[in-house]
């Protein structure tokens, strides 16, 4: 039977504030356990939360970027549960009156635009961290993360495949990065994602029973986990069984989801309005100002790269997906006219060199000035495209100017006929076979001969000139 996949995603993302959401403890990744805590985030008696203005600003900015309606009044609520990751035994969140609702995210899948609705965006505090491993007779708690500001972004069940789920997340991540509200480092836990998954016979109007999949720690694992879960549900249905509503954890190593057999009763959070915080009333002028100061969003950049520079949609997509790559493009084309050449180098060699070195653009010494200078060296024939690759590597490793690298390493292209001609003649003499092939009409043999000259000159010979010399000598 043909089934339709229905997926809704719940994303938690850490807001990039300096201090926590309800107290002034610093937010830092990797600090020593229990050294970023105070009476408020430890839930000591008599303390009161005070809301971080910047966290609100970031939340509003993200909500507007997600095309949501930001509500003039929203309300914090207590989510009550007994689990020692929160010293208060409740988490401050938002429930029936969230900050924002009714938005959407759009992205391309195989050339068509998919729109995924955003049901709600609300603020909450992160919890502490439990360490289970190697502990005798208990668990250990580190409260450094308790009170770190989070944004919860809940999608409508509009996602129709595991691939769409990944693309939605990538677009969401890009939006959050472009708006500067989060660093969105999934490996540091600053973006977490849970999924509600169900399937139903195609054409059916009724919803299937859904399962909640947790513990997916990368975009790739989201796609894999959802593909697994969809297939599992299909097999359950096809063997005449029924899907059980439950929470399932993704096991990255084994590549399976497994039931965590949690009691449904544990999900009764008994929300009630947080008495320690007054309703959050937003000044409409402030919200308008946040909207007006909105930085360029990924979709706008993609459009601009196509319209302003005539780049193919594919290039615009690749350059936009990474904000830093797109920024480098924008700065380089201001110094060097040929936008497509810049795009090709960024998508190709620059990305490769950085990937090989496991470097972020921001952390590499590569500058737009040097990149533009290198492209000009190719244009004026000082270096070949091939040599430029090693110049680029050197630029990334040392931050030196391309001209200095070329001079230092003696990489200047040989465009002197008097120097190349004897070499071309020698290669002709040494390779009678390919020469005969070429003369016999196999034009491909020329490539081999040119290659020999390039090899002898360690790539420095001007390839156009070498080509020309061979044609003349063999013609």
């Amino acid at each position: 039977m043909d089934y339709e996949t229905i997926i809704g995603l719940e994303v938690h993302v850490e807001l990039a504030t300096a201090s926590k959401v309800f107290c002034s403890c610093p937010v830092e990744f990797g600090a020593e356990p229990n050294t970023r805590v105070c009476p408020v985030c430890l839930g000591l008696p008599g303390t009161l939360p005070v809301l971080n203005k910047r966290a609100v600003e970031f939340a509003v900015r993200a909500a507007l970027a997600l095309n949501c309606e930001v509500h003039p009044t929203s309300q914090f609520a207590r989510k009550n549960y007994f689990y020692p990751d929160m010293p208060k035994n409740y988490q401050i969140s938002q429930y029936d009156r969230p900050l924002a609702t009714g938005g959407y995210v759009e992205f391309e899948v195989d050339g068509r635009t998919v729109r995924v609705g955003i049901r709600r965006v609300h603020m909450e505090e992160d919890t502490g961290k439990l360490l289970h491993e190697g502990v005798e007779g208990g668990s250990l708690v580190d409260f450094n993360r308790a009170g770190v500001p989070l944004l919860e972004i809940v999608s409508e069940p509009d996602i129709r495949s595991p691939e769409e789920a990944r693309l939605y997340l990538q677009e969401l991540r890009a939006i959050l990065l472009y708006t500067g509200v989060s660093d969105v480092r999934m490996e540091e836990g600053s973006l977490r994602c849970d999924a509600n998954v169900s399937i139903r016979p195609r054409g059916s109007r009724e919803w299937g029973t859904l399962t909640e999949v947790k513990n997916m720690n990368s975009f790739r694992s989201v796609e894999r986990a959802l593909a697994y879960e969809v297939q599992r549900q299909r097999e359950v249905l096809e063997s005449g069984g029924r899907v059980v509503r439950e929470t399932r954890h993704w096991d990255e190593g084994r590549g399976v989801t497994f039931s965590s057999r949690s009691k449904e009763e544990a999900h009764d959070y008994r929300y009630f309005p947080e008495p320690d915080l007054l309703p959050l009333v937003l000044d409409p002028a402030w919200v308008r100002e946040i909207g007006e100061k909105m930085p360029e969003l990924p979709a706008q950049r993609r459009r601009r790269l196509v319209e302003e520079y005539g780049l193919p949609a594919y290039d615009a997509g690749v350059l936009t997906a990474s904000k830093s790559l797109g920024d480098l493009f924008d700065r380089t084309v201001k110094l060097y006219d040929d936008a497509k050449a810049v795009s090709n180098w960024l998508m190709g060699e620059v990305s490769r060199v950085l990937r090989e070195r496991d470097l972020d653009i921001e952390r590499s010494p590569l500058t737009p000035e040097n990149l533009a200078a290198m492209l000009r060296l190719i244009d004026d024939g000082t270096i070949s495209g091939k040599i430029a690759k090693s110049v680029l590597e050197e630029m990334v490793d040392t931050g030196k100017e391309p001209r200095a690298i070329v001079e230092e390493k003696g990489l200047v292209q040989i465009s002197d006929e008097g120097q190349l001609l004897p070499l071309v003649r020698r290669i002709i003499e040494e390779n009678p076979g390919p020469v005969a092939d070429y003369r016999g009409g196999k034009k491909k043999a020329l490539g081999f001969l040119v290659g020999q000259v390039m090899k002898e000159t360690k790539g420095k010979a001007n390839p156009q000139l070498v080509n020309e010399l061979f044609r003349r000598e063999l013609g």
């Binding site: 805590v37 105070c38 208990g138 949690s262």
Partner: protein
């Protein structure tokens, strides 16, 4: 609406409270009386009256600037812990999925 013994057991479970049989009986009676008392409010006509989310409606949520301040050092933080191990608070063993 009345409170039953099952409700009491449910709430006790959520709060991780262990109740003796006679406590369950007496809490059922007490909670039932409290709920019935509060239920009286439902007799009022609240048609057209906006819900009250806070008893200080004229006040707004105060915001603070995003500045880092002084917290507790680790020894101070752990001083009130019933049990500690190394740099951490120690709690009875829990299973990851209790949280839901």
């Amino acid at each position: 609406m009345g409170i039953t013994k099952r409700d009491v057991e449910h709430v006790a479970l959520l709060a991780r409270l262990e109740l003796a049989e006679e406590e369950k009986e007496s809490f059922t009676r007490q909670l039932d009386r409290i709920i019935r008392h509060v239920d009286k409010l439902n007799e009022l006509d609240t048609e057209g009256i906006p819900p009250t989310f806070h008893t200080l409606p004229e006040l707004r949520c105060r915001l603070r600037e995003d500045r880092v301040g002084e917290g507790l050092d680790r020894e101070e933080a752990l001083a009130g812990a019933p049990e500690r191990e190394g740099d951490c608070f120690k709690v009875p063993p829990v299973i990851e999925d209790d949280r839901g």
